[in-house]
């Protein structure tokens, strides 16, 4: 899958959640969730089981809360839909390097600002994770215990939260300035350095996915009426 054109990957990652929400629950949502999990197992930039684990671990707390708050049927429906969204996003982040997406967007004629917006969203998670690790390391070296019972871990999490957000915001400011220094607003059309290869087959797949989503929405509306 990782060799596919970035737009194809994007189409899958967007279509699955869209279908999950428009198809009748719970079978529709279960189906899309299953497909999303299968995608997580396809070879990509990281071993498939690792991505699968991340997706499941991220979705797990939601399942807990939903089953506490709602009746079985509603909880199941929402949980499956949310999980599809989460699994699709986790898969997309793991399999699509931001640089390739930028190249695809630029080659397709989109403005550089749009391209970087997408790329920044994709790279947000790994960047945050790296930053969190640096902060936790520094805090541990100043005596903060992070391993141990639940109370200790909670305290450590609380100590991490504020510096993580603050340093992220601060860096966003500096990054925005730095991108400007590299000609972001020069007004010229960015040269595509290595446009990802595309094929007719992939284009067909993408449009089919879009059509399926549209059909899903239309179907949902008609069903209600």
């Amino acid at each position: 899958m990782s060799g596919r054109h970035p737009f194809t990957l994007l189409a899958f990652a967007a279509a699955l959640p869209a279908l999950a929400w428009t198809l009748p629950a719970p079978w529709g949502a279960a189906g899309t969730f299953a497909v999303a999990l299968l995608l997580c197992l396809t070879p990509g930039s990281r071993p498939g089981l690792g991505i699968l684990r991340t997706a499941i671990l991220t979705a797990a707390p939601f399942w807990l809360f939903l089953f506490l708050l709602h009746d079985r049927a509603t909880a199941l429906a929402i949980a499956l839909r949310l999980s599809t969204m989460i699994a699709s996003f986790v898969w997309l982040v793991a399999i699509l390097p931001p640089a390739r997406l930028v190249e695809a967007l630029v080659a397709a004629g989109y403005s550089v600002h749009v391209a970087f917006l997408f790329a920044a969203t994709l790279s947000a998670v790994p960047v945050m994770r790296a930053r969190a690790q640096r902060i936790v390391d520094a805090q541990r070296c100043r005596g903060l215990a992070t391993r141990g019972g639940p109370l200790t871990r909670l305290r450590a999490l609380r100590a991490l939260a504020l510096p993580l957000v603050l340093s992220a915001l601060h860096e966003v400011d500096e990054r925005a300035l730095a991108l400007e220094t590299r000609g972001l607003s020069a007004g010229a059309r960015r040269t595509a350095l290595a446009p990802p290869p595309d094929s007719t087959a992939e284009r067909v797949v993408r449009w089919t996915l879009v059509a399926a989503c549209v059909a899903g929405v239309v179907g949902r509306v008609l069903w209600r009426v």
Binding site: Q139, C141, R142, L144, L166
Partner: protein, 274 residues
């Protein structure tokens, strides 16, 4: 007396890449040591091993009478305080004073003691005027000094600093020198990773040089900095004070600025042989 820091045959690899091999040395309390070497020599890895963020694959690291094996960095923080490069990116609290208090508080000390330690550290680094400021509101060099204050507040037996003077001007470098001299006079061992050899000449006494993961030199700093050939073979460049000291053949090859200036004065004023 137990050494403040001891490494016995320490080795470490990142996956298949060997980073350190057979590192052995000891630091006594009050010693001031420079850890030198080119990029990629293994200095940062050694620092992470000393603080407990990593554990050696072979050999032992002793911080005081504690082995690092089996202990996390938070436990070792009672003995060793460290400041990493770019620590100014990791300031935790909403004021500098609160950030400096972070360490003592994390160790579970009573509030009065935390406040006392923070006040002492802030004073040693002349940070009181900025103590109420938000870390991101002060210029980056002052943030670096604040990070150092945070380490001093832990009142450790061993201080490990990674490039503490990068980006600091003359005044702030002198501040750091003075604070480290005070600490070492009080018995704290100081290990500084630096490529600012001028700062090392002014502040430190002994040099440990790493090259490709091995300890290739363990010598008094003065002897090393005067030996231009040796420095060159290690990929290092002598600081101006050392060049002046050698070029003018100043007696007993001084390296501290005050001593060099004094020797220079007598050389410049005495009649020279034609």
């Amino acid at each position: 007396m137990t050494a403040a820091l001891r490494c016995d045959g320490v080795s470490f690899s990142y996956g298949a890449t060997a980073a350190l091999a057979g590192i052995s040395f000891a630091l006594e309390p009050g010693e001031r040591v420079a850890l030198l070497g080119r990029n990629g020599a293994g200095k940062s890895t050694l620092v992470r091993l000393i603080t407990g963020l990593l554990h050696p694959a072979a050999g032992t690291v002793w911080v005081g009478d504690w082995e690092t094996r089996g202990r996390g960095p938070d436990a070792l923080a009672r003995r060793v305080a460290s400041v990493f490069q770019h620590a100014d990116q990791q300031l935790f609290a909403s004021t500098i004073r609160a950030d400096v208090e972070f360490g003592p508080r994390a160790l579970g000390l009573p509030p009065a003691e935390c406040a006392r330690r923070a006040a002492a550290a802030l004073q040693a680094l002349e940070l009181e005027p900025l103590a109420h400021e938000h870390p991101y509101d002060v210029p980056p060099p002052w943030r670096k000094v604040a990070a150092l204050a945070g380490a001093l507040a832990l009142e450790p037996q061993l201080l490990v600093l990674d490039e503490p003077t990068a980006g600091l001007d003359r005044t702030l470098r002198a501040l750091v020198t003075r604070a480290l001299a005070q600490r070492s006079a009080a018995g704290v061992a100081v290990l500084v990773v630096t490529h600012d050899l001028a700062f090392a000449a002014e502040t430190l006494d002994r040099a440990l040089v790493l090259a490709a993961g091995r300890l290739v030199c363990d010598a008094p700093l003065g002897a090393l900095l005067i030996d231009e050939a040796r420095l060159g073979s290690l990929g290092l460049v002598p600081p101006a004070v050392a060049t002046v000291s050698r070029a003018l053949a100043l007696p007993s090859a001084p390296l501290r600025e005050a001593d060099v200036a004094r020797a220079l004065a007598s050389v410049a004023r005495s009649p020279r042989p034609v």
